[in-house]
Symmetry: C2
């Protein structure tokens, strides 16, 4: 059965998609793990970031989540030219799905149930979440074994970390789950802003201790360029700092998941 | 009657809140305009960015939007120590309001109607939107006279511009509105990434022409530092490039609104 990890923060632009895509590609390519990246964000940026690799059409995740019968996510998946990596395609209709899920019985368990067969086909499933704590993120958290929280070095992003952890506590209590925090990943660290970086890192380590991953991600324009080109960072610029940093994060993630 | 401007993009982290707060403070402080900043985002980052200036408690915007009687936004407003500037306080309950609005008759007009008295008290009302195109953003767009779309120099943010413009076209057609695009503001431009910046600016000017504002905002750590301190950029570092750039954007915004 697959290990399912949700990558989530209510704060926008902290690097959720960049992290999900870079970790997924690393697990598939450098560790031979059968990996699925599931895009729960109506923006569809997983597909956009990897568009040169995507093969075929796939189905809409929104119809699987809204279907009354026991549809499975397997019906929406497309493969990529990156060995061992599959994704769910972009689906703009996820935007309306947010409100349509609200009235369903057991609305939080819909994705978990739709992954029943899918999880037997993969070693890892990474879920890219939208920048909110609505029903789609709730579904991702309930389906997941652990959550990775990206945070960029800004006061506004720090408050996003607290919000998601509060939401997870409510899920664990009310829905009888045992959802772990995999960790907090510091992203978009700009070497020029030492005072802000140190202040943010200090505050995070004070509040969350070892939950803050040892490896961090610096600002690196190769990531935006790779997104422009529609290929993963390991194809676009395999020797870039970002490629090496994300490979280290993938290793730390696997170690943390094995350890727990 | 106030001029109402929504600051919106589905893309997270492009500088919606930083822009709304910096423009609102400039209109109030340098142009003597009675200005209200309305925070439609459950993150409540308008309040967080200006917390040293805020005076008093205020009420929840979510209860005004969900109330069956004709409640008015005036009931939630707090003043600040910045002359001519009021804001609506942070309201975490806006997150649930998103789905709760879905079932109301004429759900898109709720904010417009709740601003009936408020708009007679101000010259400008700026609405900070959450990073999605759900019911709260929809309400902001329907209540607004024009929309300002921040976009950072990244391929993923460009696709966010197209999405909001598509949504506006649907609003104008179905809800018989005449919502203008005030313009597209390039934000977080990092002088070191010339190739990405030029590629993004070329693509935006090709697709949207004069809609792209002449003035742009560079990467400037003073903005994050001012958010740490809970004061506006004009109080934290009045001579910074960011302070001067946002003052120019405020002037261009006023000129564009007068001209249209
Ligand atoms: N380490 C980095 N260095 C430079 N740019 C980065 C880095 N990580 C992400 N970015 C850029 O920052 C922007 C935000 O990243 P991304 O879209 O992955 O964040 P997100 O949290 O998924 O955003 P959203 O909230 O919209 O889903 C993107 O344009 C991306 O190219
Ligand atoms: N010009 C700039 N220079 C440097 N940092 C900036 C600039 N503009 C914004 N930022 C920083 O980028 C981050 C994102 O900005 P902001 O929160 O205003 O974006 P947003 O679009 O409102 O995000 P969200 O989608 O979460 O609402 C913040 O941490 C802010 O401090
Ligand atoms: Mg994303
Ligand atoms: Mg914001």
């Amino acid at each position: 059965n697959a290990t399912i990890i949700a990558i989530s923060s209510q704060k926008g632009g902290v690097g959720k998609t960049t992290t999900t895509v870079s970790l997924g590609a690393a697990l598939a390519r450098f560790h031979g793990r059968a990996t699925l990246i599931l895009d729960m964000d109506a923006q569809g940026h997983v597909h956009e970031s990897l568009r040169e690799h995507v093969v075929g059409q796939g189905g809409r995740l929104s119809s699987i989540l809204l279907s009354s019968s026991s549809a499975d996510v397997l019906d929406s998946i497309v493969s990529t030219t990156i060995a061992n990596l599959h994704i769910t395609p972009a689906d703009r209709h996820l935007s309306e799905t947010e409100s349509l899920l609200a009235t369903k019985i057991g609305k939080e368990f819909i994705l978990r149930d739709a992954l029943k067969y899918t999880r037997t086909h993969y070693d890892f499933i990474l879920i890219d979440c939208p920048p909110n704590l609505g029903n789609l993120t709730l579904n991702a958290l309930v389906a997941a074994d652990a959550v990775l929280i990206p945070c960029d070095p800004s006061p506004l992003a720090i408050s996003g970390v607290g919000e998601i952890i509060r939401t997870m506590a409510t899920i664990n209590e009310r829905l009888n789950r045992d959802l772990d925090i995999l960790g907090i990943l510091l992203t978009r660290i700009d070497g020029r802003n030492r005072t802000v970086n140190e202040a943010v890192e200090r505050e995070l380590r004070r509040d969350y201790g070892d939950l803050v991953l040892d490896n961090t991600i610096g600002v690196n324009t190769g990531l935006a360029k790779s997104q422009f080109s529609g290929t993963s960072i390991y194809d676009y610029d395999p020797e870039s700092r970002a490629a090496l940093q994300y490979r280290k994060v993938a290793q730390e993630m696997m170690a943390r998941m094995m350890g727990s």
